[in-house]
């Protein structure tokens, strides 16, 4: 039953995710179903809907449709349930082949149809099977075949329908709809599947079931009889006096007693196993597909989607976007220069209304110091936001006084919208329009006027709120913090502008929404920003330009990123036995950038331009536009991300890989036992083992598990199912590690459950009285590695370790903690490994596909820099729980552990990034190992791991073709299937620097800078690293000022709109514990953070460097909205407030001394400030909406991050506040880190120096 159900993923491509999402979704699906509908529907819709959105918009660009039009279509479709639509919709998604033909088409026609639920019983079933096949290995073949059989015919039907549909549906432009999922392709795909599927899967299933029999045989065999022995008498019979019995002639008294006892011993256990499995499996297989289909995993998405579409987005977005943007189009985002002087008309003109300046978030003038009274700081600029007429008045007047931003805020949004609209909508033709800055002019003026008078900066464009600034430099007065670019404002603006409608990836070179914005992605040919984010979406065509600008060209790639439930994961494509189709020369995989020529017989590679024959089985005719007819049926031709099934040629040693294994290695030395870690881990594993990653939630995971405990020696455990008790095997020869047993070490959880539980129960007791304090570490990893080698599989080690490994063994370390080195030239040595042993070990691990996750529970220095070498080279993670206390830290640790164990991940992965001729990837950052300059080898790659890739020019790029990149990751899925995940990304190329500056993403740049700098500290003094960062930044900004900004006085700081936060974020990087350590941070922490950041994605690095600070007291209990965050500065904290600060690693709840009693009562259940327990780690569960909402928020924050954030309650004036203040990154910090304002001044100085 299980088997059948899952498969569901309606859409053919959808399979990959099913495992994951399916999990949670199931629940949903079921709920939904209830309505008289056959369950099947729910699921279907989901996928479909996700799909559809894409097409319309995405398509338009190409077709040169107005986006607006499309949008409207969409809306209308959704809202008006025309019978036709419905009918179409349903089917498509569910997309079972037979039917699928028609459905697919229908989708096609309509483009954005909705989920009409045509109840087709047949369909569902089909779809299921399909998935089934691919996803679950175990699926029965028969079911498989059926679905596929049907398809062929459908083709025609489809076409017919197509036409029919179009007519009926009205709107859709002919081309438009294209996206509909897999019509044709399905059929073909499915066909392709059948052959391969059976073969590949069958084995696995066989494996499954077979194991048992052998066991039983083996065991029973022996028993049989010895009893019938040859002539020789049997001695034993027991009692017989030794000598008397001897004679050969004597009839042997059969030693019945002993024999029997033996034979019996085994049997009991065996039967269970043997018998058990079969039933399960059969049941699952036999289970009629139909039923299973009913519950669709996908269900959830459906529900949610429809609503979103019909409701929110369409209305808002479409109107606002289209209308406004269109007219404005022109503007390029140029920042406004800021000036002390009177507004300059010229500048105004230069300023692009759209994005740039206007948005600039900074606000208000309200606070902004009036120009007059206070001289605005001279150099500061802001990027001005175009002031809106209405707004301006307010701000100017008061400097400090007015309550910040609020007023302006309101007014603001609209503006931004407009502005953004354009940016975002890089519609077709956008480029061409660019030049039209002039048009822009018109607008600004309108806005400008008001500000002009008051602010020194006319152009400056004062954003309403903002403050932009008072920029007065001359006076040298203190700069108003409100006048400088505010991250919060930028984030909020982006949310407002881009958060409401899906981001469609089809258009080359568009900048995606910020990571802080919630948005939906529709894959129409480029990888989702959740997979790839670039620093620049408009790459300079030449290296000279690139050098001049100094803007790093990099992509932050998170190949296995988890997608929100409403987005489909990459579809799986099977190109049959010959493997994925690739370019002959550069070996790029088939993707939308391949140009088919000669009637479809050959294709030209978008990367290297080489022409390759299309294999006959892949041939398809082209339509009049030169596209393959099946373009939209094949994910690899129409989508940015998808997966190929890899053939045996892509496997290590040309062998189909074994399912991976997890090995848990637990430190049982004195410290580990005493702090409770051992007991907690053992207890947790008992339940956690049921949640090992799997692709099909209804089938037990294929992953095998093994257990090792260790202190100075290692204890392996034999947990073979047939044993009554686990067996411990001690290996004390740590100098030369080996695995003492083969059979019974790595076991299937389900089969050995009893033994494993017995083991986990006993481990804490066994070592309860240990006095061993020394531990080893190197041999522990070696042990895991050897075990994987012996089992010939990839896998992951979970090492739970407590102390510096000082016991005599390879990899022994000594305590080298020496804080005196901090700040000296030798500081770098603290980040380097103490011995080379671990890097060699890491190399071996990578070769075997052995990923290591390290959980540290140190009480003192453990040398994370050295211990972390293996985890960080194998794609693993390090978790550190300093001064771990069972009770207090259990929650954080267990949540991390659960997440870590359950994570979807790939094993034994190799990633390769291919690019258009003209650039090439030159540098990689992250947790991995590289044995050559191109292949990123990851023993394990989980859904949180990110690799940052830097590109350099080696030739010229062309504006027409843009710059293409293809990231291909070959990996073994958790079920043991070898796959290739391909992400494609195309960005524009520009010859104008202004284009470059207009299409950057600061968060990504910071991600790159941080990783770059954090690697730099390994080899350079931190001071040099800091200086070079500042220098590069200054150059970037200076270049902009010099080449793109309209002329203005040198004293004015002008920042590009896209980078106006660069200084503040950069300052955060510079002040981070790694680059500028405080006295209280341990070397271990620095090493830990350094390694952590190197694998962070943009969202996490953003929060890490610029923590999110929410004024909880402003929480609106009613809605879903979060209060607008405040800037990370102590000045922004109100004594009467309560703030929640999130860094990605920690959560702080700061309670002001004057917080309202009611508030405290609601949150803490404490009547007074003084009665709040500062040691609490979780909020009391109180039955009031406020408490509920706050806890919800905390939970949702935690859910967003890859690591569990422990909550600390910080009372104002409490000693803990120091720690908290450390994260108020706009302020000066104790160790001498500059405040935002100071740093901005500093930057400005640097820039001026460069310019002069």
């Amino acid at each position: 039953m299980n088997v059948n159900q899952q498969p569901h993923m309606a859409s053919p491509y959808g399979q990959p995710q099913s495992g994951y999402q399916g999990y949670q979704q199931t629940g949903y699906g079921n709920q939904h179903v209830p309505g008289g509908y056959p369950t099947p529907y729910a699921p279907y819709n989901g996928p479909a809907s996700t799909y559809q959105p894409g097409p319309p918009q995405g398509y338009s660009p190409y077709a040169s449709f107005s986006s607006k039009a499309l949008a409207t279509n969409l809306v209308s479709d959704l809202s008006s349930p025309s019978p036709l639509d419905l009918g179409m919709r349903g089917p498509p998604t569910s997309g079972p082949p037979p039917v699928s033909g028609t459905q697919a088409y229908s989708q096609f026609g309509q483009g954005d149809t909705q989920n009409g639920p045509p109840p087709m019983a047949a369909l569902p079933s089909v779809s299921q099977q399909y998935t089934h096949g691919t996803m679950q290995l175990s699926g029965p073949q028969s079911s498989f075949n059926q679905p596929f059989g049907a398809p062929p015919t459908s083709m025609q039907q489809m076409t017919n329908q197509m036409s029919g549909m179009q007519i009926g549906s009205t709107v859709p432009s002919p081309a438009g709809p294209g996206y509909a999922p897999p019509t044709v392709s399905q059929a073909s795909a499915s066909a392709a599947y059948t052959p391969s599927a059976p073969s590949s899967f069958a084995p696995s299933s066989a494996v499954h079931s077979q194991p048992l029999p052998p066991d039983s045989v083996a065991q029973t065999a022996p028993q049989p009889f010895y009893g019938a022995p040859p002539t020789p008498p049997q001695p034993f019979p027991g009692a017989a006096p030794p000598f008397s019995a001897a004679g050969p002639a004597q009839p042997p008294a059969p030693p019945l007693g002993s024999q029997q006892s033996f034979s019996q011993a085994h049997p009991p256990s065996q039967p269970q196993f043997t018998s058990a499995p079969p039933p399960v499996s059969t049941a699952s297989y036999g289970g009629p597909p139909p039923t299973t289909q009913a519950s669709h995993p996908r269900a959830p998405p459906l529900t949610s989607q429809p609503s979103t579409f019909s409701g929110g987005p369409p209305p808002t977005s479409s109107p606002s976007q289209y209308p406004q943007p269109m007219p404005q189009q022109p503007p390029v985002s140029q920042p406004n220069p800021f000036h002390s002087g009177p507004p300059q008309p010229t500048t105004a003109a230069g300023f692009p209304p759209q994005g740039g300046p206007p948005l600039r978030v900074p606000h208000p003038g309200v606070q902004g110091p009036p120009m007059t009274s206070q001289g605005p700081p001279t150099s500061q600029t802001n990027h001005v936001a175009p002031p809106q007429p209405g707004m301006l008045p307010g701000p100017p007047p008061v400097n400090m006084a007015g309550p910040p931003a609020q007023p302006s805020m309101q007014g603001y949004p609209p503006q931004q919208n407009g502005a953004f609209g354009q940016v975002r909508g890089p519609q077709p033709g956008y480029v061409g329009q660019y030049p039209g800055q002039q048009s822009y002019v018109a607008q600004p003026p309108a806005q400008a006027p008001a500000p002009a008078p008051k602010r020194l900066d006319p152009d400056s464009i004062p954003s309403p709120q903002a403050s932009d600034i008072p920029p007065v430099q001359k006076t040298r007065h203190r700069i108003d913090p409100d006048a400088i670019p505010s991250p919060i404002q930028v984030i909020e603006d982006d949310k407002l502008n881009k958060g409401n409608e899906p981001f469609v990836t089809g258009v080359r070179g568009q900048v995606p929404p910020l990571v802080t914005t919630k948005f939906q992605v529709k894959d129409q040919g480029n990888a989702s920003p959740r997979f790839i984010r670039c620093t620049a979406y408009n790459m300079p065509c030449t290296s000279d330009m690139a050098k001049q600008s100094q803007v790093p060209l990099a992509a932050v790639i998170k190949p296995l990123a988890t997608l929100p439930l409403d987005e489909n994961g990459p579809y799986i494509v099977d190109h049959g036995e010959s493997g994925p189709i690739r370019c002959n020369r550069c070996k790029a995989y088939m993707c939308p950038y391949m140009q088919f020529i000669e009637g479809g017989r050959r294709f030209q590679c978008g990367f290297c331009s080489c022409v390759t024959e299309v294999p006959p089985h892949y041939f398809q005719h082209l339509d009049h536009t030169g596209k393959r007819v099946d373009c939209y049926d094949r994910p690899e031709l129409s989508m940015g991300s998808y997966e190929f099934l890899a053939t045996v040629d892509y496997c290590k040693n040309n062998k189909i890989p074994q399912p991976p294994a997890f090995i848990f290695l637990i430190d049982v030395s004195y410290n580990a036992v005493k702090n409770g870690m051992v007991a907690i881990v053992c207890q947790e594993l008992k339940t956690l083992l049921d949640y090992l990653p799997r692709e099909n939630p209804n089938v037990a995971s294929n992953i095998r598990v093994g257990f090792v405990t260790y202190n100075k020696v290692l204890h392996f455990y034999n947990v073979k199912a047939s044993l009554a008790q686990p067996q411990m095997m001690v290996v004390s020869d740590v100098a030369d590690m080996f695995v003492p047993l083969l059979d019974g070490f790595l076991v299937n959880v389900a089969e050995s459950r009893v033994v494993i539980e017995s083991l986990l129960d006993q481990i804490p007791d066994m070592f309860a009285d240990t006095r061993e304090t020394e531990t080893v570490f190197g041999p522990v990893i070696q042990a895991g590695l050897e075990a994987l080698k012996a089992a010939d599989c990839a896998g992951k080690l979970f090492v739970f370790h407590s102390s510096l490994p000082i016991a005599e063994a390879p990899g022994k370390l000594k305590n080298r903690e020496d804080k005196k080195l901090v700040g000296t030239d030798k500081e770098k040595s603290l980040f380097q490994a103490q011995v080379s042993f671990y890097s060699n070990l890491a190399k071996e691990c990578v070769a075997q596909g052995c990923c290591v996750d390290l959980f540290l529970f140190p009480n003192q220095y453990v040398d994370v820099a050295t211990l972390g070498v293996v985890p960080t080279s194998t794609g693993g993670s390090i978790y550190k729980y300093t001064y771990f206390q069972g009770q207090a830290d259990q929650e954080r640790f267990l949540n991390d552990l659960r997440k870590d164990v359950q994570k979807q991940m790939g094993f034994d992965a190799v990633m390769r990034v291919r690019t258009s001729t003209g650039i090439r990837p030159t540098d990689f950052f992250g947790s991995f190992y590289m044995s050559n300059t191109t292949d990123v080898e990851l023993a394990g790659l989980d859904c949180d791991k990110t690799v940052t890739v830097e590109f350099k020019h080696d030739d010229k790029l062309s504006e027409e073709t843009g710059a293409l990149m293809q990231c291909a990751v070959l990996y073994t899925s958790c079920s043991g299937q070898r796959r290739l995940r391909v992400h494609n990304m195309a960005v524009n190329c520009c010859t104008q620097l202004a284009d470059l500056y207009r299409n950057c993403e600061t968060d990504t740049i910071i991600n790159y800078f941080a990783k770059y700098a954090y690697r730099g500290v390994l080899n350079n003094p931190t001071k040099n690293v800091r200086d070079s960062l500042i220098n590069q930044c200054a150059q970037i900004l200076a270049c902009y000022r010099k080449n793109c900004a309209s002329p203005s006085s040198a004293g004015q700081l002008i920042l590009p709109e896209c980078m106006k936060l660069l200084p503040v974020y950069l300052n955060c990087v510079l002040k981070s514990d790694i680059l500028h350590p405080g006295a209280d941070i341990s070397l271990d922490d620095r090493a830990y953070l350094r390694q952590l950041v190197s694998a962070m994605d943009v969202a996490e690095s953003h929060a890490f460097f610029y923590p999110r600070l929410l004024p909880v007291h402003k929480l609106n209990v009613e809605g879903n909205a979060l209060p607008v965050a405040v800037r990370d500065s102590e000045e922004r904290l109100s004594k009467g407030g309560v703030y929640l600060l999130e860094t990605g690693l920690n959560l702080f709840l700061w309670v002001g001394a004057n917080a309202q009693q009611e508030l405290l009562q609601n949150i803490f259940g404490a009547p007074a400030f003084s009665q709040i327990d500062p040691n609490m780690t979780s909020l009391p569960i109180l039955d009031n909406p406020y408490s509920k909402r706050l806890r919800e928020i905390i939970e949702s924050f935690r859910a967003q991050r890859s690591r569990y954030m422990k909550l600390m309650v910080v009372k104002q004036e409490d000693k803990l506040e120091l720690i908290f203040k450390h994260f108020l990154v706009e302020d000066k910090n104790n160790s001498g880190g500059a405040s935002y304002v100071d740093f901005l001044c500093h930057m400005h100085k640097e820039i001026r120096q460069l310019l002069s």
Binding site: S258, P726, M728, S732, D733
Partner: protein, 766 residues
Amino acid sequence: MTTYQEFIQQNEDRDGVRCSWNLWPSSRLEATRLVVPVSCLFTPLKERPDLPPVHYEPVLCSRANCKAVLNPLCQVDFRAKIWACNFCFQRNPFPPSYAGISEVNQPAELMPQFSTIEYIVQRGPPTPLIFLYVVDTCLEEEDLQALRESLQMSLSLLPPNALVGLITFGRMIQVHELSCEGIAKSYVFRGTKELTPKQIQEMLGLMKPGVSGPHGQPLAPHDAAASCRFLQPVQKVDMNLTDLLGELQRDPWPVPQGKRPLRSTGIALSIAVGLLEGTFPNTGARVMLFTGGPPTQGPGMVVGDELKTPIRSWHDIQKDNARHLKKATKYYEALANRAAVNGHSIDIYACALDQTGLLEMKCLSNLTGGHIVMGDSFNTSLFKQTFQRVFSKDYNGEFRMAFGGILEIKTSRELKVSGAIGPCVSLNSKGSCVSENELGVGGTCQWKICSLSPSTTLALYFEVVNQHNAPIPQGGRGAIQFVTQYQHSNMQKRIRVTTIARNWADAQSQIQHIEASFDQEAAAVLMARLGVFRAESEEGPDVLRWLDRQLIRLCQKFGQFNKDDPSSFRLSESLSLYPQFMFHLRRSPFLQVFNNSPDESSYYRHHFVCQDLTQSLIMIQPILYSYSFYGPPEPVLLDSSSILPDRILLMDTFFQLVIYHGETISQWRKARYQDMAEYENFKQLLQAPLDDAQEILQTRFPMPRYIDTEHGGSQARFLLSKVNPSQTHNNLYAWGQESGAPILTDDVSLQVFMDHLKKLAVSSSA
């Protein structure tokens, strides 16, 4: 006056000593001319039901380098309460406890019938016996099952307080911890890496961190006993161990096609030795190795794991083609010496159809007094019963095993000890009575015999050092004292003291007396041991040549003949059998390697050098009984002429027990006459040898291979290869006698051998 035969018998019964000469030539020169050295076979723990041990300390001579034990040969001055040591002539006062002695009140050790006496002494805390099983798991399931059962059964045979341990090995070595409850723990070692004893002890957690000094001094046994989880009293871990053995699985590592399983015997043994060394040094312990094949990896490997390379044969060895031989042998020797130093003995139970590397490993048992048992499978009665018999008990209900024996020899001044051959190692104790000429293991007057059974017998060789020009007064007697300290199986420390004396005789004037005092059986065995000892290090032909030479010289010395006239040659009765013994010895597997694998040779030699005189003689010259309707069973010549159609033969070669039915008998048997009531007598005839064989089987250790065959049977070869080939295809008809069975061999017959001997003996040129 009794005959020498009676004298010899008497002495053997009382003291367990058989001397080659019972009159000793009084000078070095004379002694060397006698060819057969002055020597004896000594059975230290000869069973003496009539000898109650005494419960006090022996009285020792006070001279520091003498320390001989008071014995009946000492002169005692009862009045002065002084005794004179008969070895160094030191006059010693009796200890105070002997104050009451007088002529009529003598302590036992002064009475002549107590020339052998056993003292029970208090030395240190009693330590339990230790049995450490080292079990190969690379066995066929059937074998393993049989072995498991044998081992489980053995637990019930062990003394309840004995400590027992278990090490299993295959590709890896597991040392099982027995004291634990719940999870079964074991320490695992890889089979390829040699570890120092210190490392082993560290890895097993046997060293307390603070205790291991710079020397890595092991813990005192007392402490270790408490802390050693690997050796536990049987009574305590009985159940545990039974389960453990029951769950013992075959080595799980896959064995690829064409390979042998990887068997880490070498490391397993070194761990066993290291374990005991660290925990119970100088305590009686048995390491019992059960192996089903040759060591194939790690130090001590005998053959690689490629099946295509067969294990070394004699041929390879002679061609110097045995790659691993020397290294492995050296390795095991080192191991054996370590075990011996600590008083631990190593048994090898090797059951496999092919060789198992006994050649390399033999020293483990040879040097430590351990047993070697060789069989085809653990699933045979040969192994099962033999193993059971290891734990047999004597008339007192005590185990027939003793541990940690130290044999010390004291001699009169005219005599020095040259060496010993037997399951012992030298303790390198130089004393005044140590000869410079070594025979066997020499250069010492003390030997360690790690494990003793009542039948363990050492050959001891002496040298007369008295110079020819310093005659010994008439009636002078030479004396030898054997002091054997050992740990009895009931944990007592005991000292057995045997003092013997023989008269000196002037070889020139009393040569006939000396000749008459010759004990040809003892001499044959003693010479055979010398031969075997040489065979270990020398080429086979050299040894034979040496033996022949000795025989010829002996014959020349004592034979009566006319020069160059072979037909005149005569030997006196006391030497008459000796040449025949030598003839069979030459043909025996101890010296001949033809048709034997190196392992078999090692096996045979091992037993030959530790069995007592009777058994040794059987090994040299098997016994043949004949059963017929013509009379009661009778011993017959070990000769092909004894093989007659209407006889049943029973041959005992010690290692094999062959019942051979003559042609006619076997036809009758096939016709099943024995089932007919009227042929009851035939049935009885058939039964008779079976019963006799049964008797032998029940007492022999190790149990012989039992063969029931008949005329023309393939197994008959065992008989045919042993008998004197008096009739062969060459001379069958020349003898003109139709009886007997021709042997198809080119070996010389006894007749030819004797002819040649005579010729050479009388030859003036020889």
